[in-house]
């Protein structure tokens, strides 16, 4: 057995075990921490499966941002809640149905042809004419740009939903300023900005891109909020609205310019494609960073009197 295969075996065996621990844990804080470790194991699995782009995204988003959201929720909901139990009969029936479903998924996956080429060769053929050298970036922003355009729209809708649901339950301003945390954040925030720029820049040729970059940048904003430090944009609703809409607006304009200039929708001019794509990605990065910041902060923007901070944080149990 080669070391690589051994690593694969360990990872593949660890994934379901860690998942069970995350789902079974009664203490939400514990469940959130285990979910983060699951995300990191999944990211490692993606590296083993030759998918470094997704590994980066999973580490930043699946493990990082999702973990932050659940840890935050654990603070709100407390360690253990009233838990009604599902009846034994019902649990058995649900278990049988779920097992049947998983078996069907496994059979479907196993029935796929083993040596199918997939869409890899088609992407390789399209790559010379595409606006980015890196296959995943080319697929995301050029070959299948439609998906990504709608994706940034989904993010905007999610922010609107979070604001609408937040009501008065918004984040209290800088709760307990911890000097060590503030000191660390003073170092970490510039690093986040730098790393984000690097991920964005690298995306055209190597693993990376707007989504990873945006989440890392937004993570910097979350760090500032956690350390109770001033976020310069917190009281500027016009700025935040503009930044949130920037990615979708630039993407739409670039896409709509195609038909105006006699090309197809979302088709970029061949001579400026690289620059145009980078502009779109940079705009997406800014918007995604503000989406991340907004879904964590949850404070709706209310006209000029932005961030009124009326919400009393509910007592922690």
């Amino acid at each position: 057995m080669t070391p690589g295969l051994l690593l694969d075996l360990l990872l593949a065996a660890a994934l379901p075990v860690v998942a069970v621990v995350a789902v079974v844990a009664r203490d939400l804080r514990r469940a959130a921490v285990v979910l983060v470790s699951l995300g990191l194991l999944v990211a490692l699995s993606f590296i083993r499966l030759d998918a470094p782009d997704i590994a980066l995204a999973e580490a930043a988003i699946g493990a990082g941002l999702t973990g932050v959201l659940f840890l935050d929720a654990a603070g709100r909901f407390g360690p253990a809640g009233s838990s009604r139990r599902t009846g034994r009969l019902r649990a058995g029936a649900v278990g049988a149905l779920a097992a049947a479903f998983a078996t069907a998924v496994a059979l479907a996956a196993a029935s796929l042809p083993r040596d199918a080429e997939g869409l890899g060769p088609a992407v390789a053929r399209a790559l010379p004419g595409a606006a980015a050298e890196h296959p995943v970036t080319a697929v995301l922003l050029d070959l299948r740009g439609w998906d990504t355009l709608l994706e940034i729209a989904v993010l905007l809708v999610a922010v609107l939903g979070v604001w609408a649901a937040a009501g008065r339950d918004v984040r209290a301003p800088g709760e307990v300023p911890v000097p060590i945390l503030a000191g660390a954040v003073r170092v970490l925030f510039p690093v986040a900005v730098l790393a984000s720029g690097l991920l964005l820049w690298a995306g055209a040729k190597a693993p990376g891109g707007a989504f990873q970059a945006g989440v890392v940048l937004g993570g910097g904003g979350i760090l500032l909020a956690l350390a109770g430090m001033r976020r310069p944009w917190a009281r500027r609703p016009a700025l935040v609205r503009g930044a949130l809409a920037l990615g979708l607006a630039v993407f739409l304009l670039a896409g709509a310019a195609g038909p105006v200039a006699g090309r197809r929708l979302l088709e970029y001019p061949a001579d400026h494609a690289g620059l145009l794509l980078f502009t779109i990605e940079a705009a997406l990065t800014v918007s995604i960073a503000f989406v991340v910041d907004a879904v964590f902060d949850r404070t709706p923007l209310v006209g000029a009197a932005a961030a009124p901070r009326v919400g009393r944080r509910e007592e922690r149990p």
Partner: protein
């Protein structure tokens, strides 16, 4: 990488789907259900990427789709958690009553 590695991860992905599905139905607290949904979606992503690796080379199209999926999953999680907070703020509960009105406490 040897031939069998993608199959190992595909099997792990299916198991994650199973664990997530069970957790989503059997757990009662909304936050735990949302967490189980995240486990389920991780399983789908792992399965998808493992299948994309079975061919001659990694396939960029499933990779891009999973990347999109990860981003959409986290925004759905943020929205779902905000809704769970609202349910708790309005009703003082961390779960939803059964459809048949029985409280089962």
């Amino acid at each position: 990488v040897t031939r069998s590695a993608p199959d190992l991860f595909a099997a792990a992905g299916v198991l994650l789907v199973l664990v997530g599905l069970l957790g989503f139905v059997l757990r009662r607290r909304l936050v735990q259900r949302i967490l189980a949904l995240n486990v389920l979606s991780s399983g789908v992503f792992v399965l998808f990427v493992a299948l994309a690796r079975r061919g001659p080379g990694p396939d960029a199209v499933p990779h891009a789709m999973v990347l999109t999926g990860i981003v959409v999953a986290v925004s759905a999680t943020a929205l779902a958690l905000a809704l769970a907070r609202r349910v708790a703020a309005e009703t003082g509960r961390e779960d939803l009553p059964d459809a048949d009105g029985e409280d089962g406490a």
